[in-house]
């Protein structure tokens, strides 16, 4: 990470703006000889490129003027409607299009929520580790963090309760990724879900649920989002087209029954970019309109990622020396790997010399307190590449562990 020094010319918040390691790494991972476990990139070979071309022609023929014109900030009605139905099915709660705003990727949702809730110095409670894009978004609003411990079943309700009970002031919101968390791939245990909702309710702290990976389960089990439970305090749900179809569209959504929050989000989005790409919105809405084809597409993603998860877990088990631990996530795009006594930033420097890269774990810790973890993405590389990449990585681990011991 690089931090740019602030001069008097710039706002104070710029001192907190840092380049994401992931975004910076995207620049080098384009080279064909590099095997990247770094980005959270979907498998591009599964993108329905031909179908998107056909859809674009249909959209231009039938709705061309609307798809190229300025549009309402809330998003196009048909897409808000689809999101409401999708979420109704997932949650068992009844959502209408009035509960939904379309945003320009879920990163924008996080930025707008930061803008809405955070004055400089305000607290945010989040998992330890948590999604670095969220930390980056909230950093720009000069947030401070309450790190809440997680174990292999996600956030610990007791730890959250303890954090809120001792917080002064209370955090402005709790941010959580319950399903196949970024960066750990962990799934929040079912019996912890209502507990976390109730704790937030008791302290009247809004709960932001980032559910980007929910559909990417490998065992056929649908996990109810936290917004499935009724609560007297706000639950704000974030979902995205990026993991369902394609991130290049920059289409995502925020849903909440709290219309005071939603109205303010619309105002914040007006000032931020007027509305998400109309072309992208119409293309995605048309794509998901064919329910059967869309479900088949999701299933092929699940199947592919599951195999890649298996390939990575086997390779890690086969190649890694003692002192290396990792998990076998039941979905999503990432697993989490810890290397006893090794700073993974040093490991990255070594590994990248043999053309394999990953994201060092430190960026996912709001207080940058742990350096021995790393996030490994398994969705973006084929099984053979994964095997080769893990072999190279294990070699680097042995080299660095030998050197440091």
């Amino acid at each position: 990470m690089t931090t740019l020094a602030r001069s008097a010319r710039f706002a104070e918040r710029t001192a907190r703006m840092r380049a994401s390691t992931i975004r910076e790494m995207l620049k080098v991972t384009g080279r064909p000889e590099v095997i990247s476990f770094a980005g959270g990139l979907p498998a591009p070979e599964l993108f329905p490129t031909q179908r998107i071309g056909e859809i674009a022609v249909e959209v231009m023929r039938e709705r061309g003027a609307a798809a190229l014109q300025y549009s309402v900030t809330e998003g196009i009605p048909e897409l808000r409607e689809w999101v409401a139905n999708w979420l109704t099915k997932r949650s068992g709660q009844s959502f209408s299009r009035e509960d939904v705003i379309i945003v320009s990727g879920s990163q924008q949702g996080l930025d707008l929520l930061g803008k809405l809730f955070l004055d400089p110095g305000d607290h945010v409670a989040l998992e330890c580790p948590s999604y670095l894009g969220a930390i980056q978004a909230f950093d720009a609003y000069q947030a401070r963090y309450l790190s809440v411990a997680i174990d292999e079943h996600g956030m610990l309700p007791d730890a959250l309760e303890h954090a809120l009970a001792h917080a002064n002031p209370l955090p402005k919101f709790v941010y959580i990724v319950p399903n196949f968390q970024n960066p750990t791939g962990r799934l929040l245990a079912h019996d912890r879900r209502e507990a976390i909702v109730r704790i937030c309710e008791r302290f009247d702290v809004p709960l932001i649920e980032d559910d980007a990976y929910a559909a990417l389960h490998f065992d056929g089990i649908e996990h109810p989002p936290l917004i499935s439970w009724n609560s007297s305090s706000p639950i704000i749900y974030s979902g995205t087209a990026s993991k369902l179809m394609a991130p290049g569209l920059r289409v995502a959504w925020i849903a909440t029954k709290d219309h005071d929050i939603l109205d303010k989000l619309v105002l914040a989005k007006q000032g931020a970019d007027l509305h998400a790409s109309s072309l992208s919105q119409y293309v995605f809405a048309q794509y998901v309109n064919d329910d059967a084809a869309f479900i088949r597409h999701i299933e092929s993603i699940r199947e592919t990622y599951r195999k890649r998860r298996d390939a990575m877990v086997s390779a890690l088990a086969r190649e890694m020396p003692e002192g290396v631990t990792f998990n076998r996530p039941d979905g999503g795009m990432f697993l989490w790997c810890e290397i006893e006594g090794v700073d993974t930033a040093d490991l990255l420097a070594l590994a990248s010399q043999s053309n394999v890269v990953f994201v060092p774990g430190v960026s996912f810790f709001a207080h940058r307190e742990r350096t021995d973890g790393m996030r490994l993405n398994f969705s973006n590389s084929g099984e053979e590449k994964i095997a080769v990449g893990i072999e190279r990585l294990a070699h680097a681990v042995r080299t660095i562990a030998g050197a440091t011991r």
Copy 2:
């Protein structure tokens, strides 16, 4: 405008977030019986819908994986290159792709610049009146404003100099729309351009040049942007695809030789939405790649808007009673109309009953100090509709003027 009350749950800045009259009006102007002079909407019948469909197919076939995948924050190289060339031609200065960042519409550029420069209470110098989307973006960063007087030839250099000489502290930047200004349609006189650059340079205040309408000139005269002049203080140029091709893509750009600013913009954009829609970027880049077709397209826009400007000016001259003044802009999408002794918000209430709408001028004044102006858009309606709409509007003016006198 509606202002939502702030509660302790939200950040202080939310007290300044207001719904744009224009955005709110977009919701009613969809009704076919309404003639709207309100939005800054391009003529949808000129959108190259069929060509965009063909291009989308080409992009999907040739670059589908890239156009649907995550991309770099700075924007795709071919589009940054095109912008650099386009700006080099327009300015006579040499720009490279390294001087350019692609943003999700020029509104996002304004938001990111606000985020970069403005701490609460910081000053911004801008034209009086100025673009309300800019005021809305800067309001969210709790800016205060120095209004600089304009006449029929744009910002008065003496007024700017006086404002900066007496400012304490100096504004963080000067924001200006030199070509066919939004909302007045006015063109900054050639001999004022260098003067304004030099004043900003003398006070070392960054200059943000919003050049959305430059290409929409009706008399064949290209006006050099302010960034054409060398300056030791930063000039930050904002351009957009919205007025050249289609706003629904949400593709725009910021260019500056000041790479400290550009690097910070990239960081701010990372946290705000990662990158602009890759699909939109590839589609626009492919569209402008055919230089001859693109120039023909711009020329047909100019031709159409020129006729509509003529239709509106004739209708105003024919229909409006005494006490109404308006200008005849040499380009762009708007003209400015003042009605002696009438609050145009009241006029809008009356006019909308006879299905004609516009934007009351008060929203364009940072201190909301004048209520007798209105912005009339002439690009979005055909000549006959314009004649009918102005007739209705003149009727409303006579009614309200009769009532108030």
